[in-house]
């Protein structure tokens, strides 16, 4: 990727939990409007990398840059307001609020929109994520599919330049996952860069043009999706983890 167009970048990021090294010098970058998929066996450190990019975790080493500016010490809320949106692997709705209110929080706090403009943003996002009919439902009463969509909608309402998606199709049916691909495609058309962690590679490749594979806290392959999936180390990592399972 061209040096000048990096939007969000992790440079030499390290993260430990106690004695466990989870990120072992990760270099990762996404350009403006780019779509990048991340795959890798369970425990590879994918979610942890997202947490470091989003500011949920401080790395023990390395830096995070957004639009070339060092944001390593910026808190998660600040990074969201800068333009880094994030959807959690396990959805975390504001259970006591309605679906519409959940999205409004994103539009108001993260997207810094006011009044009518905030409402319009929230309504637009609900329609895009097919949640319009559930707008007035309490979020805690939603099933998994709608929780996943709400997680995406709320992040989207914050007006991100880059959206970090953590297994938003996990646990969904093929048909439901295909609908998400269409939605993500629309986001790409709007110019939002996407970093999407997903196990189901054939779904993922429909929405991204670059694939990164992680294993053991390192990036082991990065490039064209077909080439990455043919890469010997990637095949090895997957067979290895399949053998363990």
């Amino acid at each position: 990727m061209d040096e000048g167009v990096k939007l969000l970048e992790a440079a030499g990021v390290r993260k430990r939990f106690g004695a466990l090294v989870v990120l072992d010098g990760v270099d990762f970058a996404v350009g403006a409007g780019e779509g990048v998929g991340i795959v890798g066996p369970n425990g590879a450190g994918k979610t942890t990398l997202l947490n470091v990019l989003a500011g949920t975790y401080r790395p023990d080493g390395g830096r995070v840059l957004f639009r070339g500016e060092d944001v390593t010490s910026r808190a998660a809320a600040r990074r969201c307001r800068l333009g880094i949106g994030r959807a959690h692997q396990v959805p975390r709705p504001f259970g006591g609020m309605t679906v519409f209110e959940n999205v409004l929080v994103g539009a108001g706090a993260g997207g810094r929109r006011r009044g009518r403009e905030k409402y319009r943003q929230a309504i637009d996002v609900l329609e895009l994520c097919a949640l319009g009919d559930l707008a007035n439902r309490r979020a805690e009463s939603l099933g998994l599919l709608h929780r996943k969509r709400l997680e995406l909608a709320r992040a989207l309402a914050t007006d991100p330049e880059v959206l970090l998606l953590d297994e938003i199709a996990g646990g969904l049916t093929e048909g439901e996952a295909a609908e998400l691909v269409v939605t993500v495609g629309e986001l790409r058309r709007r110019g939002i860069a996407i970093v999407w962690i997903e196990h189901i590679v054939h779904v993922l490749v429909q929405a991204i043009e670059r694939l990164v594979c992680m294993d053991g806290g390192r990036v082991i392959a990065d490039g064209d999706p077909d080439e990455v999936m043919r890469d010997a180390t990637v095949v090895d990592a997957y067979l290895g983890s399949a053998a363990v399972r």
């Binding site: 809320a77 969201c80 006591g96 309605t98 409004l104 929080v105 706090a109 329609e127 969509r149 609908e179």
Partner: protein
Amino acid sequence: MSAVAAPAPAARVERWTRLSGGFTVLLAGLVVLLAFGPVLWSENALNNLIQLYFLVVLAVMWNALAGYGGLVSVGQQAFIGIGAYAVVFLSLQHSLEPYLAMLLATLIGAAVSIPVAAVVLWLRGGAFAIGTWVVAEAFAILVSLDPNPAIGGGTGTSALIPFNTRYTPEQRLHYTYWASLGTAAVLLAILFVLLRSRLGASLQAIRDDEGAAASVGVRVLLGKGVLFVLAGAGCAAAGALILAWQLSIQPLGPDSVFGVNWSAKMIFMVLVGGLGTFEGPIIGAIVLYLLQTYVSSSGVWYFVMLGAVAIGFALLLPRGIWGTLQERFNVQLLPVGYRLRGRA
């Protein structure tokens, strides 16, 4: 799911519903009616209602902290004590008009809560609870060691002189009644406006999931700080009212103005009424008031009873009275939310 956003021309956002608008008007009307209490009711009834009002204030403030900020404080008695002692200090030592002193005591509570917040808001969960308690005990000990005769050290003090030199007992009762009603009404109104404001949705988000709130850009610490200062002011106001009602106060012991029993009562009211709901704490305050007026109001059995009722609620109705009703019927009597209407 369609990729292209369907236009929703008729969609509009509704904040007042007929039910909630009607209820809000009814509540405002009730406050006006209650304001006529001193010309309508007996001295005994007024005394009871004063207690109810400051219980409402305490419940609403504790709920603002725990229900919206996730801040489980067991040290709000620090501000009750500060409010009560500030009135004595200002009115006895500095001969200030006592009701003016009560107003100033409220502001002092807010001012003191700022440095306290700067320390305790960095603590989490259990550490926060213990931290607030330590702060309350520290203030109690500081007051009890104060050699100033107006403060009275460990034996306590009284505002009998400033009140009785200016007012007859009947006047004091009436003014204290209005002050308590006014404080409860104003604090409820402030919280209502706060929850309806832009910050309000963020506060509810913090209540539900602090980490997720931060991840969508919510300034969590700012929200908590606002709640902590509001609760500091509100509890100081309650302390000032308690002083005006009972006149003499002590700094030490669980029953004193700095006593941990206040926290027990606040937790009880909020858990019974419904944590994190606007209406719940008012209901909880009425329940506690009824229990202490008609069942028991002192001694060990009182707290045994409170404990038993609280455990019963925790097991059977964990969302409290109002939380359960709200979940079942999806109603909101006070319109702090947003409803989307008119979608095809």
